[in-house]
Amino acid sequence: MPETNRPAPNPAVAGFDELFSSNMLIVTGKGGVGKTTGAATLALAAVASGRRTLLVEVEGRQGFSRTFGTQPWDYTEREFRPGLWGASIDAAESVYEYLELFYGLKRMQWVMERSNALDFVTTAAPGLRDLLLVGKLYEIEQRRRPDGRRQYDLIVVDAPPTGRIIPFLQAPEGVTEIVRVGPIRRQAGQIKEMLTDPGRVQAVLVTLLEEMPVRETSEGIAALRSADIAIGPVLANQVVTPRLGPRTLQTVMALGAEGLRERVAATGARMSGRTAELALELANAHTDRVAFQAGLWAELAEGCGVPVLSLPLLTGATFDAGDLDVLADVVALQLGEDGPRATEELDEDAIAALLQRSGAEVGA
């Protein structure tokens, strides 16, 4: 029986300190790959490592409040678990805050709301909406506690998908093209400085091990790199746990559906011939899928030049916030840190597969 909770032999990412070496992680990826799950997982791992963490949503989807079962999130940062704060920021609120901060214009608010002038501010001026959101992230990153330490050790942002991430992050530059003077221009420069400092901001891409998402991940990494944004590890989401390799498959195929049915029946379990046949079909498709996945994993690891961390496809009958804690510990294990909730909840196949990915050979 393998010792499953030992640290990975040569973790691709050396511990929490390397994974969380920047002040902010910008989590992006193709639509539907699980950016929200990825961001929540990273935030929970950061909390487990003792970091004061803020989880931020920028597209108003209320993905986190649903996942964590809290009241809807808003502009106010609230601690919803010990050491973990959450906020959902939007451009309109940022405008009010900005105008108030720089111009003491509280009374503007009602005029704007009544007249929908906000549409002007947030849509007519190219990229201004994105600039305001990125500006808000900058403001949070800048904030200090009375003792001079940063307010949050780590800020995790559930950012727009890869298709929109570059215009989002480059909004400051876009605005400087149009706006030639004024405080926005000055601030844009400071925001860019933050975004291009690997100690302050890194992008994390979430992907599925499927062709299109993997391709879009490589393209996204290239685009982010040319925008001078540092790339953290890639998170491969919904990785299928290998249940049987080619050799085991051969054994069961030789056994056949009838053989399998008899074998199972001998233990006292009742299985119909139809289910046994389906089980063999599934076994065939599964080994294909695992091989396909391994190929894409290698392509990803080689092609993007950053470490790849795996989040297993959890096969429990339900998926809830507790599963995010398991995923957070799965990340921890791959960093060579402790991950008690993962070792408790996942079976050996899953843990072994995760740790093998970080170094050792893949079994039969």
Partner: protein, 387 residues
């Protein structure tokens, strides 16, 4: 209309919609397979003998990839289908270019060539299509209308852009015209013009303050450009508005139907539900729901407890068949759990919504990137059966 149960909806297919509709719009959250579904519908319609055009607006050129076509352009191109199609069956595809469509719209509505040139040269105009929310959707609908008017196709299948929310799409025409109508913007730019009328002086004063701030915050160039832009646009609002109205009417026609696409995960399912409700409110016609990439259903024998006991016992067996059988049982259990979870999520999300047709497309081995793969999905959409 009676509210069909989901089980009943599962027995219906898209065959009728594909044979009868003139416009099919695929919609849903990002990453659920809208483009692939649109392409598969197009293929199914061509096989059913209809001259079909699939329009995509996705900048990732996924349709081109999924049809094995590279460099799909702004004009319709015939897709070479190997098999023998019935008389009249053709599949065409095109990529929608937002800027070209917008430019054409300006040309059509501008008072003079000079005015059109001035607008197209404006900085605000050049960036509008990427920044004003709803512009992409509006332009897609505009082009759809244009192609429909041309009357060259039996069926137009359109893939909607990956919006933040699928609902943006329906609001686009209104949003677009109310923005372009720009009463408020005109007010902001020339507050004197409307002083004393309707909204009154308070807003006028607020607007002046707003413009002062905006000027200081942004620099004056932007405001100058905006003023020019709206001056040039002045004469075109009515044309735009009327066009938007026509587009909405076209979408409300019973010949136009919406195919709501989702994956079996809760967030896209939530969007699918909202979208179905919204269609009903707006008097638009839903053709049904496609759930992509769902795991196959697994029979409930052996029971979970019996399966667990069998795994424990077989694992300890000292021949290779024992542990191998245990591995297969574990896999069976994984798939059964997932399939069960996905079906429960689908049923819960669609509870009490009016769904007439529900087709579940199983998770296939690899990605769909060629006509063979699309053909498999096309068959499922037409017959409800896989393979």
């Amino acid at each position: 209309m009676s509210r069909a149960s989901l089980d009943e909806a599962r027995t219906h297919t898209f065959a009728e919609a594909i044979a009868e509709a003139h416009i099919l719009v695929t919609t849903g959250a990002g990453g659920v397979g809208k483009t692939t579904t649109a392409a598969a519908i197009g293929l199914a319609a061509a096989r059913a003998g209809r001259r079909t055009l699939v329009l995509t607006i996705d900048p990732a050129r996924r349709l081109a990839q999924s049809m094995g076509l590279e460099g799909l352009g702004d004009e319709p191109a015939l897709v070479e289908l190997g098999d023998d199609l019935p008389e009249g069956g053709e599949l065409w595809a095109m990529m929608l270019d937002m800027q070209t469509t917008f430019d054409r719209l300006i040309d059509r509505h501008a008072g003079s060539a000079e005015e059109a040139r001035s607008i197209k040269a404006n900085r605000i105009y050049r960036t509008l299509s990427s920044t004003l929310s709803g512009t992409q959707e509006y332009m897609a609908m505009e082009r759809l209308h244009e192609l429909h008017e041309a009357g060259e196709w039996d069926l137009l299948v359109i893939d909607t852009p990956p919006t933040r929310s699928a609902l943006d799409f329906l609001d686009a025409p209104n949003r677009m015209t109310s923005f372009l109508e720009g009463r408020l913007l005109k007010l902001l730019l020339k507050p004197g013009m409307v002083a004393g009328r309707g909204i009154g002086k308070v807003v006028g004063a607020g607007a002046t303050a707003f413009m002062r701030v905006a000027g200081r915050v942004t620099g004056m160039d932007l405001l100058q450009d905006l003023a020019t832009f709206f001056r040039d646009f002045e004469g075109m609002y009515d044309g735009f508005k009327q066009r938007a109205q026509e587009v909405l009417e076209l979408l409300r026609d019973p010949g136009s139907r919406f195919v709501v696409v989702t994956s079996p995960e809760p967030p896209p399912l939530r969007e699918a539900k909202f979208f179905l409700e919204r269609l009903e409110q707006e008097g638009l016609h839903a053709a049904g729901v496609v759930v992509n990439r769902i795991r196959p259903e697994v029979p409930q024998d052996p029971s979970e407890a019996a399966l667990q006991r069998a795994v424990d016992e077989l694992e300890r067996a000292d021949d290779p068949e024992g542990p191998a059988s245990a591995a297969v049982l574990r896999l069976l259990n994984d798939v059964r759990n997932l399939a069960g979870r996905q079906r429960r999520d689908v049923t819960a999300a669609l509870y009490s919504t009016n769904v007439d047709t529900l087709v579940e497309v199983p998770l296939l081995g690899g990605d769909i990137h060629d006509l063979d793969g699309l053909g498999v999905i096309a068959t499922t959409l037409m017959t409800g059966r896989n393979g």
